[in-house]
Symmetry: none
Amino acid sequence: MEENVPIRAELIAIGTELLLGTNVDTNSAWISEHLAAIGVGVYLHTSVGDNHARIVDTLRAALERADVVLVTGGLGPTQDDITREAIAEVMGVSMFRDPAQEARIRELFERRKREMPLNNLKQADRPEGSSIIESPFGTAPGLICPVGDKGKVIYAMPGVPREMKVMMESGVLPDLISRSGGVNAVIASRTLRTWGVSESRIAEMVEPRIAALDDAGNPTIAFLAKASEGIFAHGATGEDAQKLLEAEENELRSILGDLVFGTDDIRMEDAVGDLLRKREWTIGVAESVTGGMIASRLTNVLGASDWLRGGVVSYASDVKFDVLDVPEGPVVTPEAAIAMADGVRSVLKTDVGLSVTGVAGPTEQEGQPVGTVYVGIARPDTETISVSLSLAGDRQNVRDLAAINALNELRLRLS
Amino acid sequence: MEENVPIRAELIAIGTELLLGTNVDTNSAWISEHLAAIGVGVYLHTSVGDNHARIVDTLRAALERADVVLVTGGLGPTQDDITREAIAEVMGVSMFRDPAQEARIRELFERRKREMPLNNLKQADRPEGSSIIESPFGTAPGLICPVGDKGKVIYAMPGVPREMKVMMESGVLPDLISRSGGVNAVIASRTLRTWGVSESRIAEMVEPRIAALDDAGNPTIAFLAKASEGIFAHGATGEDAQKLLEAEENELRSILGDLVFGTDDIRMEDAVGDLLRKREWTIGVAESVTGGMIASRLTNVLGASDWLRGGVVSYASDVKFDVLDVPEGPVVTPEAAIAMADGVRSVLKTDVGLSVTGVAGPTEQEGQPVGTVYVGIARPDTETISVSLSLAGDRQNVRDLAAINALNELRLRLS
């Protein structure tokens, strides 16, 4: 491979358990993230079963398209573990038993005072011309396997995430960085997380910016569809990447305004927690329709005990009346939301009270349709207010949306 | 496809976010499990980015090898959503705008009184010759797309797991079952859900039964590895399937006893709700370490208002002292759990009080290591008790396990 030409990678996860659905392949996402961080682009993930012919086909197809192929799984001692043999066939070489690995395995069993099943020595076999990535766990080593005369490489690692991660960091990533010509080809990325309008509305707002960027090609923008939506920007080439991201983030923020609640791993509850911490305010939550979801999201935040005192889940109406001092009467009203927010603020002795009452369905309540939700916000410096929402979806939907929207309404009023 | 010949499937997950590693593909495992249950074998999973040419290549390669291809992702309204166009190219047909879908989308925005961004109408476009799997969420429909003259099919579903799952059950699985030999090949399945011992211990207990069944071949048993573990039994051939399942369920229940908390979609909170309803008891929850997770799980249950009155999230210690009347002092103790359970029972005027206090980490508290959790159970007919748990994992793990174990301890004592 030439210097500074971006490396193309493909990933192959090997194991019939993946195709049966008993295991979720979390390795490929982890590996992809770490390859992106050193500027290696991933073009395809494939999962294939423990079948020699199919593994060989998959490896060959991947090597047609990509410069390097990272394989996980199939390095253990059982009959199903056939990754080594498949790679040897693709390399066009034979297998040999590595005496150093054989000695290591024998010594391992002796030290544990256990008899060694003979098939364990399989793990000392490897293709001619391969080199070793040592396992710190005493299990099968990883392999670096050059293929053909165009500088292409297969990396083979165990499927156990803990073992794979160590070998990525100790063996695969350093090898890839040296092949790519040092640390020059850095790709940095940043996610902007937004809440308040639909994904398609965000797309429309950002469209002119995407069109403007398309000509330059660096940075580029991609959309992520998640529970908490985000906009993805990435930049290329060395020292400039971070600066490009910085500039692009400012550009996008000027378009999106307070729809942006955070970057990268910041969740809505983190954003709210940060704002409370800045004001040195504590919070208590009164939840009816969300039944504890908001409180449990806030307790996700590390260090929440600095500003979260707790909450009251007032699912039954008379818990609202008795515990939160809500006036008897209808409970799906702006007035009830306000009384709940004031009530929890007073019962839990907090600065801020946040409340949610509404109808999750499946049927209407107090003549209000499913999806009607009122949020109450009580705070020390101004009058308690209510915000009314009309949410779409089934019971679970309405509850999820009520929780994130309540947090978002509070965020908008604290920032 | 001929009748009763096993169908070969491949799965393709579409989305650049998968190749960047920002999203883990959990859909493929779920789909594979459900295909296995109806006897459809999965041969390959592929993840590919939002790139027209690469999606087309991947679809063509998959259709070379497989009878049916299940695609997830790329059905949204943004420019990145190009799955529909790629499928049309592979089918060799043009796209058309489905008037019924267009009307549905317009009506949806009108009902929500929101302006419709024009690119939303993209979701009404589909390849000539395709048919629709309706979305119950009002989002883009799934597609059933026949390809060529050999009876091959592409199924396209959204990448959002919740939407994909509904479409699998309402559209894809029934279509596959009818293709695999019509209504005669009825495959019924039942999941037994267990809690309390490890998956490998369950495997050990059930092993003799699996061995006994292996000879007959109907029903068979398969394991599902999930957050809430289960044992999966399925039977084939028409009228007998349900009877076989019934008998097998009884057999397995006699082996597993009260480790089984429910069948199929019954969640732990449903099991607890059923038991409370039978006794005509109400419940209140006092949560510290779980911060509202138990209350919010209980409010998941349809009709929870019959037996759930609410909860107190006593995250700060003095909320425990002030609101729940817990004696001042250490709060991660069996005595505090008992006082919390009694306190919430009295404050919310319920029959049962369930409490959880403990240490989720990242650091120890009151000299107790991370993972120490005490559950308190107060009830009208006997003394309040505490149960101590020692849970493994990180902060999120400990909280999740504390919630489900607390519910399970209550279940065991109510049944």
